[in-house]
Every structure is written in structure tokens, then in C-alpha cells.
């Protein structure tokens, strides 16, 4: 009996042992391995979850920060795939997964620390963004876009703005100046001197501005109805506009003028647009104030003219080392007017004796070139290239130049001078082109009307440009300078013919000369308007009535 009991106990123990062994076997082998008790988290689940986490993180990082992060996604995928084959209890699985995640995190932090992440993040944005820019930058797309923009093909190949030496290489805006206005009060009682305006004038270009005329005025129909009890220094009122002068603004900086104690003249507003009567306590519609800034601004552009010895150039072309192509000019940074130039395909063989220079004058800024003032354009060519006399005006213009014989383009020396004197040139009353000695004679003498009177009035900002041309360029005899006063439009295309110097005389195979155009142009910009909510109250005057 005892033996039977002992045997029974033995059997029960063995059965329990077998059950335990089976449970362990189940836990460590085959499907469901790692699951010690049916309902808990298994090693497989932990690996799968970690893999999923890494996969998602890798995809997101890869999309936003670079394809290299897809490696993390790949690691995640591997974890998901190998998860069913992991036969590991829960605690050990957590340890291994944490180890992997920790190593990935360390790698990520290390990468950010060495600047890789910064390079990616501060670059051109996402890969997709860069890809799109690359498509738009491609030669074929650019050509197509140029064709759409300019189907007649009269414009030279687009030039480019000069590079600005900054750490960020941010291109400056295509502007000379900008003006903006801020008001401290927008709901105002008529005739109450409570208006304050702050006008900011910005020099967006790379030239120093010595003087800007700033005006503050109400837009039509209320022009002239803005009054100030007292105006600051350098300000006065003229034809209903408040005019101020701002002096000496360095490049890429700004100055502010504060207009205070201003009021809207109630009677003026009532008379101009409301039949002499305004209704009390009712907002008067659409009173807008703007600021305008006007100045003369200098600009310059330069075209590289590369010439090559013919036999050498032919060899290069034949051996597919060289391909001639058009080249645009480089414009000074931060200018509202660009003067593009094109002399055809370059490099030019030194056997070519003449070349047509195509110039395009264009306002690319948001301001205006006022039609009542005229820009001055100087075209500086190397002495060997001869003078650039714009042919567009050949029929109408008067050329003044040093004459050795009787014939000076059909005019006698005296006749020409009398028709194209300093005053008519400066005021644009006649279309003139002045070159070299004539320019020097009329323009550059110490007592010339232009230097003494007209420049300070018309273009004080550009005094150094005129000085540079007179004192260095014209004095050096290495260049020809022609000046014209007839570019009053926003867009203009004109040409001149240059005589190239022929065979390159030095032992160099290539020579680059530069054609420079310098302009001083008038420029006016207007701020966005501020709308004032004005009203009157009964008793302010007979122009303000109840109904």
C-alpha cells in the first residue's frame, strides 16, 4: 500500500515535472517562445515593438534630415523580421533592446554634435526641396523659362548680382532704398494734434546715401489735409506735402524720422470730398497716409570680355575642351536698376575686329524711376576697344567730341557744343552723348556747373562716382568714357559697336578686359499706406453737423 502511495506520489511528481518541462520547452522554442505564462509580454513582442519604433523614427528622420537616417529604419525592419526567432525571456529581451536603442541614440547624438545634423538642417531644407530647386536651376529649364519670359530674344543673357562676402551668403534684395511708416494712433478726432508717425528709411544697397528726400502725405482725395503744428529740423511743408531730408545713411542700415503732433484738417477734408459737411461721430472712410522716399542712387555693372588667340581657340574647340557661350554682366549688389550687357558668345577669337555690345537697362526694384528726372549713364570701355556710343540714339543725339578736322559727325565743333551744353545734359532737355575730352571739359573742370551746382542738387549721393570718373578714369587715358542722359524709362535696350584690338600681342592665350557701366539714377519708393479712422464731434465747426 505504502509502495503504491509512494509510486502514485512519484507519478504525480513526474507528471508535474513533465508539465513544467513542456512549459519551459514551449517558452523557449517554436511559436510563442519567450512567453512564460500565456497572457504576459514576450521577448518577441519587445523586439517587434522596438523594431517598429526604430522603423518609424528612421522613416521620419530620413524624410526630413537625410537619406542616411534610413539606416535606422532598416535596423528596425531587421528587428521586426528576426523577432519571431528570438528565444529570450522578457527581462533579457528588454535589456538587449535597450542596449540597441541606447547605441542608436548615442550614434544620433554624436552625429548632431559633429555638425552633420546642423549641415542638414541649415541647408536648403529637405531633400525634396533641394531636388525641386535643382530642377529649376537646370540649364534646359532655365532656357525654357527665359524663352517664356522673353520670347523675342532681344535681351542679353541674364547677368547676375555680385556675390556678397558674408558668412551666410544671403543675397541682398534688388532694391536701392525702402521706406515704411508706423503710426501710434489710428482712431483720431479731426483737428486734434495727436498723430505721430515714425518713418523708417532703409539703405538696402551697398553705396552710402548722403541725402534722401522723405515726404509724408495723405493719398488722394485728401492730399494736403495733413498738418503739423510744428515741423522738425530739415523739414518743411510744400504744396500740402510734408518734406524732410535724411542725411548720411550707411549701406545696409536705416534711419528713422518721427513726425509728431500731426492733425487732420477737418475743414479741408470736408471741403475736398464731402461737400463741406461731415456727419458728427461717423467714421470718415479711406483716409490713408503714405511716406515716399526719393534719392539718386549709384549703380554699376561689369561685363567680362574674354578674348582668345584664334588658333589656340580652334584647337580647344576641336578637341571639345572649349565651347563658346554668352556671358552676362555682374551687377553691384543691392541696386534697383540693373544694366545687363552682352557681347555675344565668349571667348571671342582675337581675329574678330568688331563686336556689338547689347545693353539692357531695367528697373528690377519695386520703386519708380521718376520721369521728370534723368539718370546719367557712363560706359567705360578699355582704350583698345574704342568708344561705346549707343546707336539707338545716333539719329537724334548730338555728339560732342574732340575734333581735329572740320567734320565732327556733321556738326562743327562750336555748333555741337552750343547744342549740348552742361545744363541741357544735366536737365535732359536734349539727348546728348558726351565722350572723353568733351565730357572731361564740360564735366570735370573744378568750376563746372555740374560739379559745383548740379551734382549737389541733383545727385549728392553720387559725387564720389563723378569724382572717380573725372579724377581717375578720364585722367588715366586707359579707358574711353561716354556718358548719356537719356535713359528715363523703366526698361531700355540699346547697342553700340566696339572695335576690338585684334591679335593678342602678349604670350598669353587668353585676355580678359572689362566693360563697366556706371549709372546714377533717381529713385522713388512709397510705403504701404496706413488707414486712419477719423471722426468729428458736433461743435468743432460748422463743417461738422449732426445729420
Amino acid at each position: 500500500m505504502e509502495n503504491n502511495d509512494e509510486n502514485e506520489i512519484k507519478n504525480i511528481e513526474e507528471e508535474e515535472k513533465k508539465e513544467l518541462e513542456e512549459e519551459y520547452k514551449k517558452a523557449f522554442t517554436g511559436r510563442g517562445a519567450g512567453r512564460i505564462s500565456g497572457g504576459g509580454i514576450s521577448g518577441e513582442d519587445i523586439f517587434r515593438a522596438a523594431g517598429f519604433l526604430l522603423f518609424i523614427a528612421g522613416i521620419i528622420l530620413g524624410f526630413f534630415m537625410g537619406l542616411m537616417f534610413l539606416v535606422i529604419a532598416l535596423l528596425g525592419l531587421v528587428l521586426i523580421v528576426i523577432a519571431p526567432h528570438i528565444h529570450m525571456p522578457e527581462t533579457e529581451s528588454i535589456f538587449v533592446v535597450l542596449l540597441i536603442l541606447g547605441l542608436v541614440a548615442i550614434g544620433f547624438v554624436w552625429f548632431i554634435k559633429i555638425g552633420g545634423g546642423q549641415a542638414v538642417l541649415t541647408g536648403a531644407g529637405s531633400r525634396m526641396g533641394r531636388g525641386i530647386s535643382a530642377i529649376f536651376d537646370s540649364y534646359a529649364v532655365k532656357n525654357f523659362m527665359n524663352l517664356v519670359k522673353n520670347p523675342f530674344g532681344i535681351s542679353p543673357t541674364g547677368g547676375e548680382f555680385e556675390e556678397v562676402q558674408t558668412t551666410t551668403k544671403t543675397p541682398p534684395p534688388n532694391q536701392a532704398i525702402d521706406v515704411s511708416i508706423r503710426g501710434t494712433l489710428d482712431k483720431v478726432l479731426l483737428d486734434q494734434p495727436a498723430l505721430t508717425f515714425i518713418v523708417t528709411v532703409e539703405n538696402l544697397g551697398s553705396s552710402k546715401i548722403s541725402k534722401v528726400d522723405v515726404s509724408l502725405e495723405l493719398l488722394s482725395p485728401y492730399t494736403g489735409c495733413l498738418k503739423f503744428e510744428e515741423l522738425g529740423q530739415n523739414c518743411d511743408e510744400k504744396n500740402g506735402k510734408i518734406m524732410c531730408h535724411v542725411y548720411d545713411i550707411p549701406p545696409f542700415s536705416s534711419k528713422e524720422i518721427v513726425f509728431s503732433a500731426g492733425k487732420l484738417d477737418g475743414k479741408c477734408i470736408a471741403d475736398i470730398a464731402h461737400g463741406g459737411k461731415l456727419i458728427a461721430n461717423t467714421q470718415i472712410g479711406n483716409i490713408q497716409v503714405v511716406a515716399k522716399a526719393s534719392t539718386y542712387y549709384p549703380t554699376a555693372s561689369r561685363l567680362a570680355v574674354e578674348r582668345i588667340k584664334e588658333d589656340y581657340g580652334v584647337l580647344l574647340i576641336k578637341n571639345n575642351v572649349l565651347r563658346q557661350k554668352p556671358t552676362g554682366a555682374i551687377y553691384r549688389a543691392g541696386t534697383a536698376v540693373t544694366i545687363d550687357m552682352d557681347i555675344g558668345d565668349q571667348p571671342i577669337f582675337d581675329s574678330v575686329k568688331q563686336a556689338g555690345l547689347l545693353m539692357r537697362w531695367q528697373n528690377v526694384g519695386k520703386g519708380k524711376i521718376p520721369s521728370d528726372k534723368n539718370p546719367f549713364l557712363f560706359i567705360i570701355t578699355p582704350h583698345d576697344f574704342g568708344r561705346c556710343i549707343p546707336s539707338t540714339y545716333r539719329e537724334n543725339m548730338l555728339i560732342v567730341r574732340e575734333c581735329t578736322g572740320d567734320n565732327c559727325d556733321g556738326y562743327s565743333k562750336t555748333e555741337v557744343k552750343s547744342k549740348c551744353d552742361t545744363l541741357s545734359f544735366a536737365e535732359g532737355s536734349s539727348v546728348c552723348v558726351l565722350c572723353d575730352s568733351a565730357l572731361k571739359e564740360i564735366w570735370c573742370s573744378e568750376n563746372s556747373v555740374i560739379r559745383k551746382t548740379l551734382i549737389p542738387v541733383y545727385a549728392p549721393n553720387a559725387e564720389e562716382v563723378f569724382d572717380w570718373i573725372c579724377d581717375e578714369i578720364l585722367a588715366s587715358n586707359e579707358y574711353h568714357v561716354c556718358a548719356t542722359n537719356s535713359l528715363t524709362q523703366e526698361f531700355n535696350v540699346f547697342t553700340c559697336t566696339l572695335n576690338l584690338p585684334g591679335k593678342i600681342q602678349t604670350n598669353e592665350n587668353r585676355v580678359t578686359n572689362y566693360i563697366t557701366s556706371v549709372a546714377v539714377y533717381p529713385y522713388t519708393v512709397q510705403s504701404a499706406p496706413i488707414t486712419l479712422k477719423a471722426y468729428c464731434v458736433e461743435g468743432q465747426g460748422d463743417w461738422c453737423v449732426s445729420k
Partner: protein, 391 residues
């Protein structure tokens, strides 16, 4: 334990790959020579910005990857330097194209004396050798650049003389032997040994071999054999990034039993060394006259010279048998990337008779080809001069 080890190893491998990829993104690009077999420039001018009126050093590293012979008379020049100037020997400022007046300065190369300031020269650059050349460049003043940033292209040229030679064995086989081999099932398309030349311009024999000839009479006959005409063909390829700036000289040294096919030799553009005056024919169109043929010298890349004198200079170290030489001058204008040249030759009748009578079915003749030229490569870099603004 095993599973844990596998997981750890897999994880570490992936991490290593990750770091590898990340590392590739951020590393600085190594400068390397993009010329497989020639003289080339490693990297760039190593300067890209200057301020007006200031000066800075620019340098070029030139490496010879040539096989076989070294490059000789190597000149490295800057081109299109104006409006920059060059400063040398202390503070001597000079126009780049003016010749050096000083005898010697620190850092002068062997051939620098009397060369223009923009050019540096050395007698020989051995295979695998690197040479660093420097110039001190002075930027134009603010006024010279009209106060606009000047982005000026500066070209650098490297040119050198190079000569190379290769042997080839050409197999001649009688038609009877070819038929016998075919009937016996033996290999009959036997190629002689031939190699391609080293250097940027490769010459390679493309002559179909064996060259089959037929005997005019049976062995033992007293009748003499006629001369047998054949053509040696060579493929000429420019494998480099540059081009030959000189005419290209090809010399073919042939064996005693062979002679050139004189009646068509001229038509193929070959000259017999011993009967040649060292001039080449050039046909030019002259207005009102028409096509005019005249004799001119070879263009050596440096000047013009009697071709024979130039060839003697190029191949002065070679022992060439001047009695059995054919010369061809490929004018640099006629040189294209890839083309074939042919040399019309004759197997002498008496040799054929001897082969016939002595029952020699197969004969291998050695030829030697010499090639000489001056090669030129050009590179371009921009140097920007920024005016100082905001003052």
C-alpha cells in the same frame, strides 16, 4: 547565449554601417588626380578670394601618372592673369606675361629663367613624381575693379613632351599552311605579340593576323616570287582630358625582310627617313589662287622646327635604326579623339622565295613603333576680389 550573441553582433554591424554612412556625409573630400595616365593637376589653385590690392599665394600640385618615360620640358602656366599681377623675388611686381629678368630666386625651377612670370618650367617629371608650383598673386585695386566684386577666371595650363615606344610581332602565314591547319583542325588564327602604348595618346596595333600570303610558284621553282603587299593598322586614341598641342610624330621601324610600299607611301602620309627633308606638306586655300600646297616645319608646341631636328631631339636617348624607318607626322589640326592610321608595307619577293624554297610556312617579324608629342591640359578656377564695403 547564442541568440544574444547573434543579436549583439547584428546590432553592432548595423551601427557600424550607420556610422560609416554618417561619416561619409561629413568628411572632407579628398583631392585626387583625375588623370589616369598622364600629367595632371591635383586639387585646385587653393585660393579663391582676395581683397583689393592685397596679395596671396596660389599653388598648383602637378603629378605625373605617366607610365614608361617621364614627361620632359614640363611647363605649368597661368593664363588670363590680368588684371592681377605677379610678385616674385621679394617684392618685384610684374606683368604676368613679361619675361623674368632676375637670374635666380628661391624656389625657381630649372627652366624658370627667361620664362614669363606666369610660367614655371622643369626639365623632367618622373613617373609618380609630384611638383608644387607657387605664384604670389597681387589683386587689382578697388578702383581697378570699379568697386564691384570681381570674379575673374584664371586658367592653368600644363604641357609636356612625351615619347613612348612599343614592339609588336606580326605573324605571316602562307595560304598553304592555313589550309593545312584548317584541314587538320589546328589553330590557324595566330596573333603576334602586341601592346598598347603608355601615355594619354594610345597607339594600339589592330592589324589582322596572321597575314596570309600565297606563293606564286611551287617550291623548288627557279621563278622569283613577286613582292607581297600588306598594311599594318594602328588605332590611335586620345584617352586624356587634354590634347596634343604639337604635331604627333609616329615612327615605324621595320625589319630587314620588309620594305615600304613606295608607290602609295606618300598617299598614306608616310615618309622614308633617309629620303625626307624634314618638312611636311600643307594644302591651303588662297583667295584667287585656289588650293596651294606648300612645305612647312613641324609645330613642336613651343615653336616651329624642322621635323627631323625635332625628332632627333625627342628620341635622342633611343637607339633607332635610321636605315629602316618610316615617319608619319599627324598634324595637330587633323588629330581627333580616335582614328586609325595605316602603313603600306611589302614582304620582299626574294624573302618569299626563300620561305617557299626552304618550306617555311610561318614567319614572325618584329616591328617597333615610336610615338612623340607634346601634350596639353587646361584647367580653370575663379578668384574673386571683394571690395571692402560699408566704410
Amino acid at each position: 547565449m547564442k541568440a544574444k550573441a547573434i543579436i549583439l553582433i547584428v546590432s553592432l554591424i548595423f551601427l557600424a554601417f550607420s556610422f560609416g554612412c554618417i561619416g561619409q556625409e561629413t568628411e572632407t573630400n579628398e583631392t585626387k588626380l583625375d588623370v589616369e595616365e598622364g600629367v595632371g593637376v591635383v586639387g585646385t589653385l587653393k585660393i579663391d578670394e582676395l581683397h583689393p590690392g592685397l596679395d596671396g599665394y596660389i599653388s598648383l600640385t602637378v603629378r605625373s601618372n605617366l607610365g614608361g618615360e617621364g614627361a620632359r620640358n614640363v611647363y605649368i602656366s597661368l593664363d588670363n592673369v590680368k588684371p592681377f599681377k605677379l610678385v616674385e623675388c621679394g617684392n618685384e611686381i610684374s606683368e604676368p606675361s613679361r619675361n623674368r629678368s632676375l637670374d635666380n630666386c628661391n624656389g625657381f625651377l630649372d627652366l624658370d629663367k627667361n620664362l614669363p612670370y606666369r610660367t614655371r618650367g622643369t626639365v623632367k617629371l618622373f613617373p609618380g613624381e609630384e611638383l608644387d608650383v607657387f605664384w604670389r598673386l597681387k589683386a587689382p585695386s578697388v578702383n581697378e575693379i570699379s568697386d564691384i566684386a570681381l570674379k575673374h577666371p584664371i586658367y592653368y595650363d600644363v604641357e609636356y613632351d612625351y615619347h613612348v615606344n612599343f614592339h609588336q610581332s606580326v605573324v605571316f602565314m602562307s595560304q598553304n599552311e592555313m589550309l593545312r591547319r584548317r584541314q587538320a583542325g589546328e589553330e590557324y588564327l595566330i596573333q603576334g605579340e602586341s601592346a598598347s602604348t603608355a601615355g594619354e595618346i594610345r597607339f594600339k596595333s589592330i592589324t589582322q593576323q596572321p597575314i596570309l600570303f600565297a606563293f606564286d610558284y611551287q617550291p623548288g621553282s627557279d621563278n622569283p616570287e613577286k613582292d607581297f603587299s600588306f598594311v599594318l593598322s594602328y588605332l590611335v586614341e586620345n584617352k586624356g582630358h587634354g590634347f596634343p598641342i604639337s604635331d604627333v610624330i609616329v615612327i615605324l621601324e621595320y625589319p630587314q625582310d620588309i620594305k615600304p610600299q613606295e608607290d602609295v607611301l606618300n598617299a598614306y602620309g608616310w615618309k622614308e627617313w633617309n629620303k625626307w627633308n624634314g618638312k611636311i606638306n600643307v594644302t591651303e586655300y588662297q583667295p584667287g589662287v585656289g588650293a596651294v600646297t606648300k612645305e612647312v616645319n613641324c609645330r613642336t608646341g613651343i615653336g616651329e622646327e624642322n621635323c627631323k631636328d625635332w625628332i632627333n631631339e625627342i628620341f635622342k636617348d633611343e637607339k633607332i635604326n635610321q636605315d629602316r624607318l618610316l615617319v608619319k607626322v599627324i598634324k595637330r589640326e587633323d588629330f581627333v579623339e580616335s582614328f586609325t592610321i595605316n602603313a603600306p608595307m611589302v614582304l620582299k619577293g626574294e624573302v618569299k622565295k626563300e620561305l617557299r624554297d626552304r618550306n617555311i610556312p610561318l614567319k614572325i617579324y618584329p616591328f617597333k613603333v615610336y610615338v612623340g608629342y607634346r601634350y596639353f591640359i587646361e584647367g580653370k578656377e575663379y578668384i574673386t576680389v571683394y571690395p571692402l564695403r560699408g566704410i
